[in-house]
């Protein structure tokens, strides 16, 4: 039966093509000069460059962390190129008509039409290609509602007061090794500002694409939901199939001011490397949000790609009655490794957090949940509920759970439930006996296992995520 499941898990990575786009790419290497050049390319004000250079100094004094349950060759940071942009983007196309059709085709192939008429109604897209944003759709419509949705490189120029106030306010430069690196060399990502009392009229989304060889992508995203506002945001990520590893080191900061709500969903499908672990993206990401009074941040992630994932979308529940949620599906197969989870830091009174994590391991992969729930002394009446389920497929993979609970307040309540199960021969046989082929059977069993998380995704994307999982599990056998 294991053979059959393995076969069912063989898949082709459908996003693995390379776009034929002429790019300006920096020579590999990292020093102050490279950082100055990035800043110049982005036409940045002096204060931003200073912040970058400061971060670079901080980073140089830090050590690469090794506590995660992952194993990979040390990254040679001098062998990476830190900036790559399609040549056609140099003249800053004013409208979609001026954008290189090859870029538009790339996104179309990925199922993300950038021509507004063809798009999913109600979803605005920022398309980030290597180190630049290619296009951001529906900007006019959004600005009518006062919503700012633009590449962060533009926000630095056009909305410096907001950027200065909030960039680095949730994830400080010194937070960790990759965050510090990101502060020094970040290139593009999205910036969102939702004004007071506004419900963002559309879903916002960003699609990250790595195309150029030997480049790293250093995404930086900042979302600010002002008092009483509401926004739902989704990011997707893909990359070509290449034999060498590539680094994606992102920092995402969310600020939910009083009574605001941010729903942040990720469908991560970076190239996972081949069966033997050759190639694939290193996805080393810092994501954190801060909740002020009565605010709510909800992270939902579907992680199916990347060779190595190191990612803990977290919530700092600063304000009283604020709520943090984390819903995660992480699928690893082949030789993939994932160490992912969340941190819920309860500072305010009556703060609540929910963690639902579903890890699926197949092949020879390793899948770890790592989570921290901290109840600080001021967190009177705080509550956390954690449910952590692992599903094993086959007998060569690993599922690990590393929950950390720190309670410094006697009135706080922390609950943790964990299960480990496997796709059993009995389940497979039942499905087949009813006429389902093994591929459909595995995909159905896995989808069932993930149901609680999928129902948290925005409707438009729940279907997409289900399909992605199906593609992930689809075999080449008929």
């Amino acid at each position: 039966m294991t053979d059959q499941i393995d076969k069912a898990l063989e898949r082709e990575y459908e996003a693995g093509f390379v776009s034929d786009v002429e790019s300006d790419t920096f020579e590999p290497g990292l020093d102050e000069n490279v950082i100055r050049r990035i800043s110049t390319m982005k036409n940045e004000p002096e204060w931003m460059l200073e912040a970058r250079l400061k971060a670079f100094k901080v980073w140089q004094e830090m050590e690469e962390p090794d506590w995660a349950h992952v194993d990979y060759e040390k990254i040679d940071f001098q062998a990476i190129s830190y900036f790559s942009a399609p040549k056609s983007m140099k003249d800053k196309p004013k409208s979609l008509d001026e954008v290189d059709p090859e870029l538009i085709r790339t996104y179309e192939k990925l199922g993300i039409p950038l021509i507004e008429q063809q798009m999913l109604a109600g979803v605005a897209v920022d398309a980030v290609f290597d180190s630049v944003s290619v296009v951001t759709t529906f900007r006019e419509k959004l600005s009518e509602a006062g919503v700012i949705f633009c590449p962060i490189s533009e926000a630095i120029q056009n909305h410096p007061e907001l950027v200065k106030k909030y960039l680095g306010s949730v994830v400080p430069t010194k937070d960790n090794y990759y965050a510090a690196l990101n502060c020094a060399v970040f290139t593009d990502g999205s910036f969102v500002y939702i004004p007071k009392g506004t419900r963002c009229p559309m879903e916002l989304s960003t699609y990250f694409r790595i195309n150029e060889q030997n480049t790293g992508q250093f995404e930086r995203t900042l979302i600010i939901a002002d008092e009483g506002s509401h926004v739902s945001y989704l990011e997707g990520c893909t990359a070509p199939q290449r034999d060498e590893n590539q680094l994606h080191a992102a920092v995402v900061e969310l600020v939910a001011l009083d009574d605001a709500e941010i729903k942040y969903s990720t469908v991560q499908n970076w190239y996972p490397g081949d069966e033997n672990g050759k190639g694939g993206i290193y996805n080393f990401v810092t994501k954190r949000g801060i909740c002020h009074t009565n605010a709510k941040i909800s992270w939902t992630q579907v992680e199916t790609g990347s060779a190595v994932t190191w990612k803990y979308p977290s919530c700092v529940l600063k304000g009283d009655n604020s709520v943090g949620e984390f819903y995660s599906v992480a699928l690893t197969r082949g030789a993939q490794q994932a160490d992912t989870g969340t941190k819920m830091i309860h500072l305010g009174k009556n703060t609540k957090s929910t963690i639902i994590s579903k890890g699926i391991s197949a092949g020879r992969s390793n899948n770890s949940y790592r989570g921290l729930v901290r109840m600080n002394p001021g967190a009177d009446g705080a509550r956390n509920f954690t449910q952590c389920d692992s599903l094993l497929i086959g007998d060569q993979c690993g599922a690990h759970t590393f929950p950390y609970v720190e309670s410094r307040n006697p009135s706080a309540i922390v609950e943790h439930e964990a299960t480990t199960s496997k796709v059993s021969d009995d389940q497979m046989f039942l499905c087949q006996q009813r006429g389902l082929d093994p591929e459909k059977a595995v995909s159905m069993i896995v989808n069932g296992f993930c149901k609680e998380v999928f129902k948290e995704l925005p409707m438009e994307f729940a279907v997409e995520a289900g399909k992605l999982l199906e593609i992930s599990l689809e075999g080449s056998v008929g």
């Binding site: 039942l430 006996q433 006429g435």
Partner: protein
């Protein structure tokens, strides 16, 4: 009393000299059985005789190897087919211990199964709305609340509910040959009646049943045309419904073959 004396091509299931083993242990040692359309055959026998193995071998469960013999279902030799292909050919096995599939709703599972079988026959998929009607009717027929369609497959079901759920699947899949593997085990009288009514409602001239059971009780509700005793991997005695009563009274010991010619069919 023999049903193996004809070479009738109208036979729906023909098992000939079937030898099969699990983990290198011979379990079936020359099983012969012929089931014609519309017939109900009961298979009884002592523990370890190979009754469940028969169901698994016929339905293609992994880990069971066939050493010898053949099994033909409605003209199709099924022993070389994958499990799902046998199901699509019209073979249904009602499990003794139905397994749970958490998070996959019964309805979704049933629809996927029916669609897969229809697709294999080159038929169009049933629309969701039409399927829901069919599923609701089947659910009512086995006396399960409609909420069970939305619940995960067998998730948190009681033993009786699981068995009724098996019958619901059978009703929707409309197989040619149904093997019921001790479907009566662990059932109270009410559930037993529901199961039996489900089976009886499906009895027709083009569908046959092989009912594996330990107890004569089930056969009060599902009247068999033939009763066979399976012992040590083969049929050692066949008769009509009265044989079941005889077994109930006397047990199996008198039938155990001491050697090869112990057969009395």
């Amino acid at each position: 009393m023999s049903n193996t004396n004809t070479k009738d091509t109208s036979s729906l299931l023909t098992i000939k000299d079937l030898h099969a083993s699990v983990e290198e242990k011979n379990i079936l040692k020359g099983l012969n059985l012929e089931v014609k359309p519309g017939e109900v055959h009961a298979i009884m026998g002592p523990n370890g005789a190979g009754k469940s193995t028969m169901g698994y071998v016929l339905s293609g469960r992994e880990g069971y190897s066939v050493e010898q013999g053949s099994a033909v279902l409605d003209g199709v030799d099924i022993l070389d087919l994958e499990a799902e292909e046998r199901a699509r050919a019209g073979l249904f096995l009602a499990f003794q211990y139905p397994v749970e599939i958490p998070g996959v709703s019964n309805l979704e599972f049933l629809k996927a199964s029916v669609d897969a079988q229809r697709e294999a026959r080159g038929e169009e998929a049933v629309s969701s709305a039409d399927f829901l009607k069919l599923a609701k009717a089947a659910c009512k027929q086995v006396n399960l609340p409609l909420a069970f369609l939305k619940r995960g497959v067998n998730e948190g079901f009681s033993g009786g509910e699981k068995k009724r759920n098996e019958i619901m699947q059978m009703l929707l899949l409309q197989p040619k040959v149904c093997i019921l593997d001790e479907t009566d085990s662990g059932l109270d009288i009410d559930a037993l009646q529901v199961v039996a009514e489900g089976v009886n409602s499906q009895r027709s001239n083009d569908r046959s049943f092989v009912v594996v059971t330990h107890y004569q009780r089930l056969l009060d509700y599902i009247k068999p045309d033939f009763v066979h005793v399976l012992a040590d991997g083969k049929i050692v005695k066949s008769g009509d419904a009265s044989l079941a009563l005889e077994l109930e009274a006397q047990g199996y010991a008198w039938l155990q073959p001491s050697d090869e010619e112990g057969q009395n069919a």
